[in-house]
Every structure is written in structure tokens, then in C-alpha cells.
Symmetry: C2
Subunit: 500 residues, 2 copies
């Protein structure tokens, strides 16, 4: 089960190195799924003293997420932590132990590793920092020591310096601000904070996870190992990742190409600039590599290279909720001539097309909306008479959808306009109309609900979003972000079909 140690020193910490594929030694990690379904978990460093204790937070997270097996706090004094009996040694835990989470100081981790091996533990997750990322000789030595202990003892390390594993199905969890939903996304993140933020943002959108790993310094298992596993994991349908440095630059390109052929792989690269690379080095001891090489790698493999965390969530949402449009031609319906112009620019700027409706569609629209006159070419700049009348609004959607030149519809609403100031309830009316019409239109539909965050419409915006989320209906906060995500979504499939 253990990978070979040869070559580790050569590839660790290197940037992506495309031409080295032939020098790669295959790993033999097998199925890492067992790591996410431990029978029992011990948490070392779970203090019951006042003040911040990461270990106690892990215990609380396991309780909150409904972990089904035994949870054993460990500390130097015993007592109770979060209502659970605490032990002073792993060896005292009164049942077989599969997983250990550690937040004890780095200097104590070699002994923790040895105790874990003696207890028959399978995985040690080191939340503990203070290893190679410090840039010190002592940090590097300690990281090498725990890795050596793990290899000899046949035990795996997650981290160090990461949040570890999360699996809503088993209840294994690190601490998060939002309780992760069960879903189909596999997430690998070198950063714990970014993993927490992604989980929070995805949860607000109703998007769930299957398996998450925040792997920090990647001393043992690294990005390539987790990616390979998630690619083969049948319950993972979408892979998302935040990667600062590729440890296994030889294997990574091939594993990435295979993964992207199987399922969408959405990746954010941290350390794209010189300063970002220096920060990545401080953060997880990564050598970040150049942006150009990374972009080339994504192009060559079919992985989706994104620019920020928000875009990861936009893409997960698109892949999860939107049926694949048959092409890039979007019919845009909204309110406001200026916003229509900017929406067209945003759509075409993102690589979509906004074709003019044929004469027949325009005539039908003009007959229905005599005032509209000039605004029926695409986008439809809906006249007040239409948007104030939900039946006319629904008929507009129908006419647009029937046009042969259109592959999918985008409806944009901006919350802070006089129309909604007059009648805030109309916002929900529009959203309901779109959602009710969508299944009858025969083409995918996305909704954009823009908001500047004004308090006077906040409740209605929140309710409208909730309505969409409950129904699994794709809703975005700007035309720009929607267009960008949908274009990538279509591009992923075009690209994959092209490789077949």
C-alpha cells in the first residue's frame, strides 16, 4: 500500500514540470476511501482549559457533524472535553482506533506517531504546524522524521499544517462555520482556511461535498495522490482543488489528464505571481511554479483553471444545476437598456454568443409588447408593461425559448431598481415565473439576481435565492460570473468530446 520512497526527494517541492512525465514512478496508494470512514477518532491536544483550543474545536466538530463512531479527546490532564471523557494517552483508548487528529506542538509529534502505530491507527492527521513550512532546518528535520516513522509503521499522514479530512456521510469533520452538506463534490485544498471558505460558500448555495481533504504541507500523501483517488472514487462527480505547489510534478500532469477526462476538475492555483509564490512558500513550504506553465498544463489536460474561490463555487453550481446547453447561443431577458448592453458585452466577452432573434421572433415579441419596439433583438430589454405583468413576462420567456437561434436562456434581474422599490414582492413574482416556466421551455435557463446589498430589499433577495436553492435552480449574482461559468462549462464538454 505504501508508495515507494525513491524519487520523493527529487520531486518534493518542485514546480509543475511537464516534460518529466516519462520519469515518473507510479504510486500504489490504492483506494484511499477508507481514510474518510474511520470507526473511531482520537483528538490529541483537546484541552479543557479556558481559551482557544483547536483540538477541542475538532472534538466539537465531530460531535456536531454526527460522527457515528467513538470520539476520544486526548490531553495531559484527562477530565471531560465537550462532554466526552478525555484520555492522557492514545494507548489508553478503550477500543480499536482508526484515525488520530493532532494539534499538539510539532516537537511532540514523533512520539504521537509511534504511539499511533502501537495502537494500530491507520491515519494520523497533523493539524499541527511548525514543520517544513517554517523554512528552518529543525522544521524540515521534524517533517522528515515523522514521515520516516509513518513509512516504517505502515501508517498514513494527512498534513501536517492542514485541516485534514471531512466527509458529511461518515461525519468525519474539521471545524467549519457552516455544516457541510452531503453532495457529490470532492475537494482537495492545500489551505485549511480556503477549504473552510469554500465549504461555507458552497453551503450557502446548497452545494454539498462527498470528501474534502485539506492537506497542508503534503509530507506524505500529496495533491496527486488525492486527485488520483477522487478521480477513481465513484461517489465523487466533480473535483475542485486549491493547490499552491505541485509536489509530484512528474506524475501530476498524467493523473490530471485522466481525472479531467472522467469528471470536471476545477483548480485554483495559489502562488501565480512572484509575491504569491513567496507567500505559498511560507504557508505550506511550496515552490509555486509559473502561471504560464500552470495554464498550459490545464489547457493540455482539460482541467478548468479558475481565478478565485468564488469562481470555484460558480462552476460547481453550474455543473450541478445546469443542463448542458447544446451550444453557446444565449437569449438574454432583463430590465434596463444599459444593463442589456453591458450584459451583451459580458456574455460575448466570456465567449458566449448573443445572436439577434430572427424576424419572426421579433415580430411576435413586438406584437405582444407594442411599446418595446426596439428592444426585441436580444437582449430583450423588457418594457415596464411586461415586467409588471407576470403573464406577459412568462410569454416573453416562451417566445425567446422557441427561437431556433437560442441554445439557452439567461434572465437577469437587478434588485435595487425603482420597480422593486415600488413593489418588493414583484421580485419573488419574477423568480417564481422564471422557475415555473423553465421546465416547459425545453432549454436550460439560468437566473442572475444582482444586488448591491441594500437593506431595503435584503429580505426579498434572500427569499428569492432560497427559493432557487431549494429547487436546485442555478442563480448567479452577476451576468459576468454566470456567463463566465457557463462558458467554461460548455468549453469543458467541447474539449472532452474533442479528445474522444
Amino acid at each position: 500500500m505504501l508508495r515507494r520512497l525513491e524519487g520523493q526527494g527529487e520531486t518534493a517541492g518542485r514546480g509543475v514540470s511537464l516534460p518529466e512525465v516519462h520519469r515518473v514512478t507510479e504510486r500504489e496508494n490504492g483506494d484511499l476511501g477508507y481514510m474518510f470512514y474511520p470507526r473511531s477518532v482520537a483528538v490529541a491536544g483537546a484541552s479543557n482549559r479556558a481559551g482557544f483550543s483547536p483540538g477541542r474545536r475538532f472534538v466539537a466538530a465531530l460531535v456536531r457533524s454526527g460522527f457515528g463512531g467513538g470520539v476520544y479527546p486526548l490531553n495531559s490532564t484527562g477530565g471531560e472535553v465537550e462532554g466526552l471523557k478525555a484520555y492522557t494517552s492514545i494507548l489508553d483508548v478503550p477500543e480499536p482506533l482508526d484515525h488520530v487528529i493532532s494539534s499538539i506542538p510539532a516537537a511532540g509529534t514523533p512520539q504521537l506517531m509511534r504511539d499511533s502505530i502501537a495502537k494500530g491507527v491507520k491515519v494520523v492527521h497533523l493539524f499541527t504546524a511548525g514543520f517544513s513550512e517554517t523554512g528552518t532546518e529543525e522544521g524540515r528535520r521534524l517533517e522528515a522524521e515523522i514521515l520516516s516513522i509513518a513509512r516504517k509503521g505502515g501508517i498514513r499522514i494527512v498534513g501536517p499544517n492542514g485541516m485534514g479530512l471531512l466527509c458529511p456521510e461518515s461525519g468525519l469533520s474539521f471545524f467549519t462555520t457552516a455544516l457541510a452538506l452531503k453532495g457529490s463534490v470532492g475537494l482537495l485544498s492545500q489551505s485549511g482556511g480556503n477549504a473552510q471558505e469554500l465549504i461555507h460558500a458552497a453551503t450557502l448555495e446548497g452545494l454539498g461535498f462527498n470528501k474534502v481533504v485539506s492537506y497542508g504541507n503534503a509530507a506524505d500523501l500529496n495533491e496527486t495522490d488525492y486527485l488520483e483517488f477522487l478521480a477513481s472514487d465513484s461517489s465523487t462527480e466533480i473535483i475542485a482543488g486549491y493547490i499552491e505547489g505541485v509536489r509530484d510534478g512528474g506524475r501530476f500532469p498524467r493523473v490530471l489528464a485522466r481525472a479531467a477526462q472522467k469528471k470536471p476538475v476545477i483548480l485554483l492555483k495559489g502562488g501565480r505571481t512572484a509575491a504569491g509564490g513567496r507567500a505559498a512558500s511560507s504557508h505550506t513550504g511550496s515552490l509555486a511554479g509559473s502561471r504560464a506553465v500552470w495554464q498550459a498544463l490545464c489547457r493540455q489536460t482539460g482541467a478548468i483553471d479558475v481565478r478565485n474561490l468564488e469562481e470555484i463555487v460558480d462552476l460547481i453550481k453550474t455543473f450541478t444545476y445546469l443542463s448542458l446547453p447544446r451550444g453557446r447561443n444565449v437569449g438574454v431577458v432583463g430590465l434596463g437598456g444599459g444593463r442589456s448592453v453591458l450584459s451583451s458585452d459580458d456574455c460575448e466577452g466570456a465567449g458566449l454568443n448573443v445572436p439577434q432573434f430572427p424576424e419572426e421572433t421579433r415580430r411576435s415579441l413586438s406584437e405582444m409588447i407594442p411599446e418595446a419596439g426596439t428592444s426585441v433583438r436580444n437582449p430583450i430589454d423588457s418594457a415596464p408593461v411586461v415586467v409588471q405583468n407576470l403573464e406577459l413576462f412568462a410569454r416573453t420567456l416562451g417566445l425567446v425559448a422557441r427561437s431556433e437561434v437560442i441554445d439557452f436562456l439567461m434572465v437577469f434581474l437587478y434588485a435595487e431598481v425603482p420597480m422593486y422599490a415600488d413593489n418588493p414582492a414583484l421580485l419573488q413574482g419574477h423568480v417564481d415565473t422564471v422557475m415555473k416556466a423553465a421546465p416547459t421551455l425545453g432549454k436550460p435557463v439560468v437566473l442572475v439576481l444582482g444586488t448591491g446589498g441594500a437593506e431595503w430589499i435584503a429580505k426579498e433577495v434572500h427569499e428569492a435565492r432560497e427559493t432557487c436553492l431549494r429547487a436546485g435552480f442555478p442563480i448567479f449574482s452577476s451576468v459576468e460570473s454566470a456567463a463566465r461559468a457557463i462558458s467554461r462549462y460548455i468549453g469543458y464538454h467541447e474539449d472532452r468530446d474533442g479528445r474522444k
Copy 2:
């Protein structure tokens, strides 16, 4: 006072045409300031029947914004509108009339123009659409007719097909969802909806306007006229604009260059793509011209070319609230290693530098924050011990500011992290600490407060933002948007200095 009619037919509706500067005939508009300070206003088409009446909305807007002069609703039946006596003809208004706002159908506007001239009106603003933007012969003919009437009668037209004029100082106003604050921004917008959105967004940020014009089809006065006026207007310190098509392609480049030399000119071009250009044509009858020509024009003149409405507000905020940094070197302080990496990428990607702190600064930081160890290079990834202790947090800011390599500071906080979930009040503590420290640091400071919109921290986020707004402290919603705005701000001054 009237511009010459020659050449109007040649330039109207053309795209930007850089080489034609020599063919320009100078206008003689003089000072347009009087347009924003009428003694009295009549609103034609202010119905008192049930249902939506734009005219009645204009009357209500004038009342709400505290317009000091007479307000006279006009309709076909008389009666009262918004508590004001309505008249059936302009000629019946019982005092001298300076300004008329019209929302009557297009076909009635020639007579309205003639009545206005007979009454001695100075400016007619036509909210009314149905002119050249329809693309019909009749629409073009009507627009030419009203222009001809205006020329002969010595009266100016704003519009048609625009929201008209707004001036918080005089109380002249169109309808908005947020009551515009009095300030130093002059805004010209071809779109009424985009003007409304910009006013709304700016008001949420505490930013005010001096003069706003939404000029639609620009039949009479166009973008070049308004720009020239705002450039010479001493109470306008910042010019912002949304332009779909340049009507006066000959004069525009030179007027823009002169304006940008005097004060910042922030411009968003609608119709940058083929589809956007078609939408602009439907919207305001504009021929949009190519993106490349527009970008070249902005580069050559020193105008600031932005991508969306949000960026306009970000730049107004930056120019209004941030002291000019002496250079592009930013010291970044935040929480989270992954976010630090991404922040560095965002800053350098926007054209800022994130230099490493010198050894001396790093030693001081390490002594103060023994845990931090590796995260003191820049960005400072503040250890929990620091961010939980406001005094240590303030000392960190002081140490960073004292570093010679830093020109300004950026502090980033993300609201939806476990730290604030534990202790939401800490967010305000951090914001207060930054604001209290800022005046003592001797260098500009910006704050980034990122939020995904979760309800559990919404109140604290709102209060933190309000604290900043009340103090005129620059706060942004993402490192990316802050970095981009500040880089443009510095670039504007570098560029202007270079031209001197």
C-alpha cells in the same frame, strides 16, 4: 450659445474616430451649470390615474429631493399630483418656467417644444423614448424635428430617452432608489438605469454627486458637451461616465484629454462587443465602435477605462477616501495562509508590489509573535494569538507601516471564518483597531472586508461597514477589487505627472 449645426449630420452616430481631431469644429456651449439650477420645473405627463406614471414619479422625486423652486405637474385633466396642483398646459403655469421634464408620447413632443419656447423655458428634458433609437424612419424624423425646433427657439434638449438631470444641491432630480448625496462627483450616463444603479451603489458607500446627467439619445447636447462642461465645473472633482456611443467623434478625444489632465475621468464603455454594440444601437441609437479604439483613446488621453459599474464606484471611493500612496509597494496584513497567498497574487496581478519585509522588520515581528515564525515576510498571516489580541494586532500594523519598503497598508478580513463565528464582536474590534491606528501610521491604509453574505454575521458586517463609511475610511469587498482600484489610482497620477 448654440452650437453650429454644420457637421452634426456627419458625426452623429459615428464611433470614436481618433485621426479626425483636425476636422473638428469647436462648440460654443459655454457654462451649462445653469441647467442644474432651474428656478422652476414643470413635468409633462404627470398622471393622477392609478398605475405607473413616470411623470408622477418625477414630481415625487423633486418633492423628495427638496427642490426649492416651483414644481408644476402637467396632464390632460388637471387635479392634483403628489399634493401639487396640476395644469393642462405649460402656458398656464403661473410663474416663469426654466425647466420642463416630459414623459408624454413622442408624437406630442414637437408641440411641447413649441409651448416651452413660448413660455421662455431654457431646457426641455425628454424622458420620452420612441425617437432615433427605434431605428424607424418616423423616430429619426421626430428627433430631427424637435432638434430643429429647439435650435430655432434657442432652447436646449436633454435626451430624449434619458433620465435627465440630477443635482443634490439644487434638488433637481430624477427618480432613484437612493436619495443621492451631495458630493463632488460629476456623472454623465447615456443610460438612465445605469445612472440609477451608480447613484444607488455610491450612496451605499457614502459617496455623493454634484451633477448627474442621463442623456439617452443625445440629440442636442452629447457626451462631449457634458464632459467639457464637467471638466470646467469647479465643484466637480471627479468625472465618471457610462458611454455607449460617441456622437462627436471629432471633438471627443481632445476634450477627453483636457478633462483627464484636470481631474480623474472614469469611463465605462457599453457596447464593447458585437452583441453589445447591437444592443447599444437599440438602446440609444449609438454606433458603439471597437473596444481596441476605445482602449487606445483612454491610454492616449489618460482617462481611466473600467470594465463594469462596480469598478466605477470602487474608483470614486479610492479617489475620494484614499491619500495617494507614494508608490506601489503594499504591506498586507490578514488572517489565513491561503488567503495571504491569493491576496499576494491579486495585488501583484493588479500591478502592485508585495515586497518582502527587511530582516529587521521580520525580526521585530517574530519577537512579538513567536508563533508566527514563517508568516512575517509580507503578507503577514496573523497568528490567532495576534488577531485575538487587539493590542498585538495594532502593534503589528505599526511595525508594518514603519518598514521602509512599504508605501501603504492593506488589511484584509474575511467575515465568514471560525474566529468570527466564535466571537462576532471581534470583527468590529478589528475594524476599530485599523481605523484608530491609521492616522498614526503615516501611510495610507485600506481595509478589505470580504463576505459571502451569510446571515449569521450580516449585522456585524453592516455595522463595520457603516463605521468606515461614517469616517470616510476606504473599505472594499475583496482584495482583488481594492488592488485593482488602487493600482489605477496610482497609475492615473503617474500618468498625469508624466504628461506635465
